[in-house]
Symmetry: C2
Amino acid sequence: MGRASHALAPETLQALLSDRARAAPAKPILDSSNDVVNRISFVYGFPDGDSLPAAEVAEATARVMATDGRWALQYGSNAGHAGLIDVLLKKLKRDQGIDAKPENIIITAGGSQALALLLDAFINWGDTIISEMPTWLGAVQAFNNVGASVVAVPVDDEGTDTESLERELKRLRRQGVQPKLIYVISNFQNPRGISTTLDRRRQIVALAREHGTLVLEDDAYFDLRYGGETIPSIYSLDQSGSTMYMGTLSKTMGAGMRLGWLVATPAIIHRLASLKVDGGTNVFGAHVAADWLPRRLPEHVGKLRQIYQRRRDLMLAALEQHMPPGTSWTRPEGGFFIWVTLPEAIDTTRMLAQARERGVDYLPGSTCFADGSGQNQLRLAYSYATDDQIEPGIRIIGEIVRGELLEAGRR
Amino acid sequence: MGRASHALAPETLQALLSDRARAAPAKPILDSSNDVVNRISFVYGFPDGDSLPAAEVAEATARVMATDGRWALQYGSNAGHAGLIDVLLKKLKRDQGIDAKPENIIITAGGSQALALLLDAFINWGDTIISEMPTWLGAVQAFNNVGASVVAVPVDDEGTDTESLERELKRLRRQGVQPKLIYVISNFQNPRGISTTLDRRRQIVALAREHGTLVLEDDAYFDLRYGGETIPSIYSLDQSGSTMYMGTLSKTMGAGMRLGWLVATPAIIHRLASLKVDGGTNVFGAHVAADWLPRRLPEHVGKLRQIYQRRRDLMLAALEQHMPPGTSWTRPEGGFFIWVTLPEAIDTTRMLAQARERGVDYLPGSTCFADGSGQNQLRLAYSYATDDQIEPGIRIIGEIVRGELLEAGRR
């Protein structure tokens, strides 16, 4: 009953592929966990390994299995485990000031599935999405997978550039194109680390309404603020029902839980639930999270803020110390990332091999743009590398940049 | 920061929806767990609640968290947790006789995500899929979501009707249509409970090859055989690489784990992993399953076989006792389901309200057909209702059918 290693002829496979499959670049199957263990890793937005609540999760699982095991191990609702929904609604009200009801929320496998479901529900091949650029790498990939035409709006030190947003919306209107979605990471934006100001959030709401389009507010980093004042969410500023609010447990309880959520109008949630044929999202993990969150989240988040604030400060100091003139970087009030802009002569994709050879890893800026620009930029995550790895890692990057600049001067 | 209850105007939402969202019927958000507790439930393919290994899962979680918590709670590979892949490959070799390597497998959120990924990779709107009919309700919905044109092939007491399959393939060829996929549930088919014979499996392989199409072999019920001989999988009979083999832990370890897998050529697996932007499938659950499976699966499956065989026998006996003449049903050697064909006069969708009112639930046959036929048929799951619920439940259904027949005789 074995199987010979005959493979399907590549041309046969090619002939059967969908547009989606043809558009997706063949990614290497990376086990990112293997990738980070032997390097000073500034590359992924991974939560700190040591602070993950492993023992507490074991305890929560024991409690859940003793009291509710027959439902935690059974198929679940397509909207998500009601117990987790209940806990999240309380958290959203307490922390985010978002007042939502069970019919406003759907549980997803991390923010990723929320985004994928939305794209399935709203994007036909060739439809237009407006997105901040640079933005989250996963969103760039997901937009590409569904054949979306992505209109880029830049981000500056006040967040989404709403003047540019307005200009693009007007241009699309003149061209008779209805954009389906504006994608915004409102707090500590990935990859720049900068939040969109209250004034700009209000403008986004007004523009979306005026142009009959939706807003997807991705707020993955909300809980991780290390300074400054909380800014009301776009969702809470929007009385029109156009804004959808996406969150995740990946940056707090742990990315391995693969649990996120989307808050939106009941009509949108119902549409998404109807498209979701998955037997319930991670029913087991959802039960464990529903036990852990009310008991431990606030204290855990307090601990994480201390860790990440310290690392952000260490990284900012190291950049000050080691980066050559002509380099600039953002100074985030929260989240995981610092965005570095190097002199024009530097190509951060090309430079990566040197960094990896010297045991340091970062994310080249071009991966954060749908059009591959950002060649002289890079994203540094300060979330995962340990305190004492940060200065040595930045020193090495600084040395490589200086070397590249010398090299470029000689050409 | 609250939010008024203003909702997006329905016409605004409607204008933004994708073809997929328009095609998906607006399903009620059902919490199926609420649905089953107050009834004798023959409706869902739920594993037996009492036999779910809750205490063992708590122990497995404690072990995983003590030894590998920092990776179980972290982002994972897009192909799935390497430890679970390793365990599954051993299981597939030992039990299924399938010899696969790590590059042949991808871990998915149940069989559902494997199917959804495949459809994304191979189906453009309007593309043709050949499927057994009746078939798994989830597949019918998933095909519908991606706008597939579904060609039905009947199923009889030897499984997939391969004469009909050949006829349809030839017809499509004459019409210049390249079918992308043949979907087959090879063992204890959902909903009929009948396996496809070895001879027919060989014919499926030959026909797929001849017509340059793929086969998706769904083998969700493999482990649950209560009689007869194991039949080699279509996958193991296919030397051409055209067959993909799909499995799940939902019917053994527990549906709440939301873990399944797909075995295929490395080129196909690579394509699927490239489309999969999800931070890894249920990393936490995958680590727990990788601990539990090698320790407990064989013994657990032995226990499940006893339970489900007994329930099948109880249900067959009750049908014999209570169903009126003119009714027929299948006699499965494994799996969860018996398929009942009532006299033509009966409409099982209409009859359902009576059954539910009398505390019994079943699945109307029409939900298992893409074209809504099967009005006089119904699916009975014997997996979830307890031993002592089976006879009373079938008695009630029998009474309702007799009543309906009397009613029909009067019309």
